[in-house]
């Protein structure tokens, strides 16, 4: 049967061509592995391209007092100490080298007066720490990695979607995928896989995420038997556009506040004084998002239900220079000149702190041969991610996963592939053409509405219960979803597969949110508004059992004394 499919072999298969996937590919190639990168879009279009504000790395170019220990403390404290402390340590230690490496591969960052890489302030970071290129840092990062990967000889399968991981004898063996262009199937035989597929924002209706963010990689790992962790922690970025309706959710970079932007309600009050007088606008994202939400709910919102974000007190030329994308975005899409008038902003679903549970050093999941890095992996950010820690996450842990996957591949032979698994994957993909249900678009809209209204910034038991019931109904509808047309570049067909991923992950989020009867970081329960010490000692784990989403708990391992001392030094 296998001969019916196009088959490609690679020591290391990488799913996703954003920052983490490309950095993993570059490292695996450097280790001598043959590498295939599969991505849903064209190369260079992954969600990393939308990252704006910068890469957090304690290089101490602007604030000489900065060092890895302070970055570690900031990350742990921003994550409400639910972080994997070893990941937070490695991240803080290695981020500066990863930035310098980018520069040696051709990236050009903004400079200080003496010609070093310039760093800017960001929420939750004690010092000016974000290396940046205006407000298009992600583009610089992805283009640099893309060119480096291509020159090093990575094989890239563009517009190709993996729908199932193939497993043999309890370990990863390959992947089943289709080409968007013609709908033909392709099978990858590989010794290890690095999942780097990003997040799940498209399950919510107001999101800064691109269409690709449908939780595919997390769902693939889950279905292959790997554990997911801390899925209740979904970050709502405080500042998305709120008007006009077509642009709702589009990101307004935190760099606006980093450069001195001020938040006000419709009465002109600088309301962050009430919620975090010490850090004000540069408080952590969970706090700022809740503050804006509260202002709006209590009737002090702007005309279109947001808050005002104002940078117009800075010189116009400075704003255009440091925030060029924001200037054009508001000018072209909202008829607002941000050098003269305030922006209207409100929370938008932005980032998944939870994801595939991985080992800190290697990025290997609980399933042998399956690695994960970047947003789809859990651990580094705990209950809330600091701005700027995502791009550094991609680089630090993309590299580590690529290295470990290549090392594993060296000691491993290709497994034979199981025909039954491939035939099942094919059958599942073709079913929508003979189904008699409804359009996947209708189900997707309903899913977004439910997640937005019931599993949003503030949660309670009743809403979560309702959401779970709705999700069960969506699952039945999605299983019967039908598509029109052929297998050639058919977005309705593609959405059926993505809907399945989104539904798995939405259920994982909702079940974890229901269990965590406390408020911590990005997870806010109206019915349990306080931190609960017991919940600070454990992670929520999600696994598949008999086809069901099952939740378990996992104690956080004790922190070694040297790291405890680093944390204590702050107080």
């Amino acid at each position: 049967m296998t001969t019916n499919y196009e088959v490609r072999e690679h020591d290391v298969l990488i799913i996703g061509a954003g920052g983490a996937g490309l950095r993993a590919a570059i490292e695996a190639l450097a280790q001598g592995a043959s590498v295939g990168v599969v991505c849903k879009s064209l190369l260079g279009k992954a969600h990393t391209v939308m990252a704006e504000g910068g890469i957090a790395a304690a290089m101490a170019n602007v604030d000489p007092a900065d060092n890895w220990k302070v970055h570690f403390r900031d990350t742990m404290s921003g994550g409400k100490f639910l972080n994997n402390w070893r990941m937070a340590q490695l991240h803080a230690l290695e981020a500066p080298d990863r930035v310098r490496e980018l520069e040696q591969w051709g990236a050009l960052f903004d400079r200080t007066e003496n010609g070093a890489i310039l760093q800017r302030a960001f929420g939750g970071h004690t010092f000016k720490r974000l290396c940046h290129v205006g407000d298009r840092t992600g583009l610089e990062l992805i283009r640099t990695l893309q060119d480096r990967g291509v020159q090093q000889g990575v094989d890239c399968y563009m517009e190709c979607t993996v729908t199932r991981l193939l497993v043999e004898n309890g370990r990863f063996a390959g992947a089943f995928a289709y080409w968007r262009e013609n709908g033909r199937f392709i099978v990858f035989k590989a010794k290890a896989v690095v999942i780097a597929t990003g997040g799940i924002g498209k399950a919510w209706s107001v999101t800064s995420n691109s269409w690709e963010y449908t939780g595919d990689g997390m769902a693939l790992a889950y279905e292959a038997g790997a554990e997911l962790m801390d899925m209740e922690f979904v970050q709502f970025h405080p500042t998305g556009m709120v008007w006009p309706p077509g642009v709702q959710g589009i990101l307004v970079t935190e760099a606006v506040r980093g450069e001195g932007g001020i938040l006000r309600n419709k009465l002109g009050e600088r309301f962050m004084e009430k919620y975090d007088p010490k850090r004000m606008e540069l408080s952590t994202r969970d706090v700022v998002a809740r503050s804006i939400y509260t202002e709006v709910r209590e009737g002090r919102g702007t005309e279109h239900g947001g808050a005002y974000l104002d940078i117009s007190h800075k010189p116009a030329e400075y704003v255009k220079k440091k925030l060029p994308s924001m200037y054009h975005q508001f000018k072209e899409l909202a008829d607002v000149d941000i050098t003269k008038e305030p922006m209207e902003v409100g929370p938008t679903c932005h980032y998944m702190m939870g994801g595939i549970r991985v080992e800190a050093e290697t990025g290997q999941s609980s399933m042998p041969g399956i690695f994960a890095a970047g947003e789809c992996a859990a651990g580094l950010h705990g209950a809330n991610r600091l701005g700027g820690n995502s791009l550094s996450d991609l680089l630090v842990f993309g590299r580590r996963a690529g290295m470990a996957a290549a090392a594993l591949a060296k000691q491993t032979a290709y497994s034979s592939l199981d025909n039954a698994q491939m035939q099942n994957a094919e059958r599942e993909l073709l079913a929508p053409f003979s189904n008699k249900g409804e359009s996947p678009y209708a189900i997707h809209r309903d899913l977004q509405t439910v997640m937005q209204s019931l599993v949003g910034i503030y949660r309670n038991a009743e809403d979560l219960e309702r959401a779970l019931n709705e999700l069960q109904m969506f699952k039945a509808r999605a299983a019967a979803a039908t598509v029109e047309g052929s297998r050639m570049y058919n977005p309705g067909w593609h959405l059926v597969g993505e809907l399945k991923s989104m539904l798995i992950i939405a259920e994982a989020v909702t079940k974890s949110a229901m269990a965590r009867t406390e408020s911590r970081g990005a997870h806010s329960r109206i019915d349990y508004p306080d931190l609960d010490k017991a919940w600070g000692q454990k992670h929520n784990i999600i696994v598949q059992e008999n086809g069901e989403v099952v939740r378990r708990e996992l104690p956080i391992p004790p922190m070694p004394d040297d790291l405890k001392e680093v944390l204590a030094a702050q107080q």
Binding site: M50, A116, L139, Q151, S210, M488, P491
Partner: protein
Amino acid sequence: MAETVLRVFRGDASGGALTDYKVPVAPGMVVLDALHYIQGHLAPDLAVRWNCKAGKCGSCSAEVNGRPRLTCKTRMDELPKDEPIVVMPMKSFPKIKDLVTDVSWNYRVNKKIPPFQPRPGADWKISQLDVDRVQEFRKCIECFLCQNVCHVLRDHDKKEQFAGPRFFVRVAGLEMHPLDGANRVGLLKDELGLGFCNITKCCTEVCPESIHITDNAIIPLKERVVDEFYDPLTMLFRKMRGPSEKRNQAG
């Protein structure tokens, strides 16, 4: 709610036709929103390539009322209201389906360009002024609208001899990088066909990132080619001394 008609190309490499769709118009709506409405309610198999819907990824290029645009940045309220909005795929690339074209040629051209090579002993101190010049080129989001509109590619289909504006911008970014030590001037002249460009500036006009493609990238690169290959004094000098060291490095 107001309605408008989108007249969209439906078809593939073998042919196709324009199809009309009635779409409700909301304030601030862009053409990509209208295309999404069609997918969501009228034609779920309408092929559209897009990613960010925020003008940052350069995926959703098409020709709107005959003009190459990013559909995510083309507001409905800036187009004539009383006539259908015509949306066609980019003309210079082979059609795959509906608004999606095969842009893989661009990725093949990109592979020909030698990467950034830091000069030995670089101390990585760079002035912001030097960075500014190169950052303009690095703003490129690879929407390929400049490739689509360039007559060398659009009308004369010289894809084998000519790299197109996008890759002159890329080479300019490398050549003008303050710490780069490679030389791509010979490549520009021969393999990338810079000489075919007769600076009509169509590329600059359609660039959504407002990169001064012709003035800041192409013309300075043309000058470098002239300096290196057509300057009579240099030519004489080269005849006497043999090929320059720098060109040997690049070869």
